[in-house]
């Protein structure tokens, strides 16, 4: 059987896409298994005897494990809050017509666009005044500014797809709106809520600027600690890359779960 050149090119192209997407990730993971000598060798080595030393070191380092715990606390709490606050709002936006609805939309979407530095400056000053600097709470609250819009958008979309007949029937049985929300919309909208929660988690897990500005020692998150290794003369490259791998791996798995919704999550649904 002869393989046509078109097919061969197609296969080569697709392979190139896979290599392009994975190379930096692969390079980080492979460096995390290298000794410092292997990392510093020039030209770089591609084949080497892997070592677990870097992982042993970072898991023994309370700074890294503490930071990962901080990231977990902040991302989980803010995600739960975003869903709790966002799902009812999505219900109102999916079900009702009211004045100011388009302004509300605009507001939610603008929040997707705003540079974190715009809020980081005043929130820093307010956090100093209220004594909230370097607490989990201040990060949890500030992360809601980008999580709520994502949750509201995705969940509204999901709620709109729930057939209105179900609700008519419940109404005739005398159910009020709060019951309808709890008994019909929440269970049927669960897939959308889950997707929006995963996005919220990924975005807050990945966040650096707010965490850098609003934390000191106590609540440094994982990206901040990974960044803090980047000073001094002899950089512990293996440790840095092992920390990077540990940070990226959980969100990558999450992202693969919601990969079909990735575009929706990143564009706020402007393209179908």
């Amino acid at each position: 059987m002869r393989i046509s050149s078109g097919k061969l090119l197609h296969a080569l192209g697709l392979t190139a896409v896979v290599i392009f997407s994975l190379f930096p990730f692969f390079w980080m993971v492979s460096a995390s298994f290298k000794t410092q000598a292997d990392i510093l060798s020039s030209p770089p080595v591609w084949f080497f005897t892997p070592t677990l030393q870097n992982y042993a070191e970072i898991f023994a380092d309370t700074k890294v494990s503490g930071a990962i715990l901080n990231s977990l606390i902040v991302a989980t709490c803010s995600t739960l809050l975003a869903v709790t606050l966002g799902a009812p709002a999505a219900f109102a936006l999916a079900r009702y017509e009211f004045r100011g609805k388009s302004d509300l939309w605009f507001w939610f979407i603008s929040n997707r666009m705003i540079s974190p530095i715009v809020l980081a400056l005043p929130v820093y000053l307010l956090a100093i005044q209220t004594g909230l600097l370097d607490t989990h709470l201040v990060l949890i609250l500030i992360y809601l500014t980008f999580q709520l819009p994502i949750v509201v958008w995705i969940v509204t979309d999901q709620f709109k797809s729930i057939p209105p007949d179900l609700e008519q029937a419940a109404r005739l049985d005398g159910a009020d709106q709060f019951t309808i929300f709890r008994k019909i919309y929440l269970p049927l909208g669960a897939p959308g809520i889950a997707v929006s929660a995963i996005f919220s988690f990924i975005f807050s897990w990945n966040e650096l600027l707010y965490a850098l500005v609003l934390t000191r020692r106590a609540v440094q998150t994982a990206p901040v600690v990974a960044t803090s290794f980047m000073s001094g003369y002899e950089l512990p490259w293996g440790k840095i890359m092992a920390t990077g791998t540990v940070i990226v791996l959980p969100v990558t798995i999450f992202a693969l779960i919601v990969s079909r919704h990735m575009v929706r999550g990143l564009t706020m649904g402007a393209t179908k």
């Binding site: 009812p88 997707r112 540079s115 715009v118 600027l209 393209t271």
Partner: protein, 305 residues
């Protein structure tokens, strides 16, 4: 009679059907956003009219009218930083669009099922990678002495490039990392556009012409345009926000070679601690962002309202 009965039943004042019902559902999130979004923004607005340097608390924080704005608008560093951000945008965007379109076409082409799904899934990896970690990887890949970028450059017969400590090298390095991270975004959007082309139209066109270019130009392009607009607008907002990756890789240097706008404002605010000036800069950036968001909504959400 029965019709009247149903109407009456529907009108029966059930709990939770009033005019104000939506408010109960909206209030928690709107109040939260007012507290954590609008209040700080107003605070920044007030700060932008004050002299507010927290390293000199003895001076107090007096109101100085539009002084900060005058200072910012006549500050050549602010303008060159905005210009650099624009330069970065026009450098990375065309490459991301062209590469993204090429990838989308590869993924749209029939056949190669398994390899295609694999490629489709791996595209998600750059998008999900923590931006700060992308910066860390960049530092390793573009290291002058042991970076793999110089190994590749060597294969092409180019001498070792001092990526991160020369202005052009650093700019190229952050551009390459941004292209790596965001090309998949363009590819996925274009792929969504391509799959909107009705199958029968595409097949008929394939029978009519063997030219891929004609197919792209006359059949697929109209379906790609909304995605292209979304990419152009969203990427412009993203470049204005771009901080994490560049901060980790270059901190805006060497000199001011990669001093994009968010990096610059962060430095004025949190290195120089001139929060009055930084707030004025942030408010100007906010205005620019609002214009971009308006544009985005006007162009892309027409069907929503």
């Amino acid at each position: 009679m029965s019709e009247a009965a149903t109407t009456a039943a529907r009108r029966k004042p059930n709990r939770g059907y009033g005019r104000w019902t939506p408010l109960w559902f909206l209030a928690p999130s709107v109040l939260t956003l007012l507290l954590i979004g609008i209040y700080p923004t107003l605070f920044a607005l007030v700060t932008s009219f004050r002299q507010y340097n927290i390293t000199r608390p003895r001076d107090g924080f007096p109101f100085v009218g539009f002084d900060n704005y005058v200072h910012v608008l006549t500050d050549s560093t602010f303008w060159s930083s905005l210009f650099l951000t624009a330069q970065f945008y026009v450098t990375v965007l065309p490459i991301q669009v062209v590469l993204g379109l090429a990838i989308a076409l590869l993924l749209h082409k029939p056949g190669m099922g398994l390899l295609k799904s694999l490629a489709r899934v791996t595209l998600v990896v750059p998008l999900a990678t923590t931006y700060a970690v992308v910066g860390l990887i960049g530092r390793l890949i573009f290291n002058r002495d042991f970076g793999v970028a110089n190994q590749f450059a060597g294969f092409l017969g180019l001498g070792p490039v001092d990526w991160l400590s020369t202005p052009n090298g650093a700019f190229a390095a952050i551009a390459i990392m941004d292209i790596w991270q965001w090309t998949p975004f363009c590819a996925l959007i274009f792929l969504a556009g391509l799959s909107m082309v009705p199958g029968e139209i595409e097949e008929a066109a394939r029978l009519e012409t063997s030219s891929k270019l004609a197919l792209l130009r006359y059949v697929q392009l109209p379906y790609l345009l909304p995605g292209l607009t979304a990419v152009m607008i969203l990427r412009s907002a993203d470049v204005l926000k771009l901080f994490d990756m560049v901060f980790v890789m270059t901190r805006g240097g060497p000199g001011s070679a990669t001093d994009l706008i968010s990096i610059y404002i962060q430095r004025v605010g949190f290195r120089i601690f001139d929060l009055g000036t930084a707030s004025a800069q942030a408010i100007l950036l906010l205005i620019l962002t609002i214009i971009i968001s308006r544009l985005y909504i006007r162009v892309l959400y027409r069907e929503v309202n």
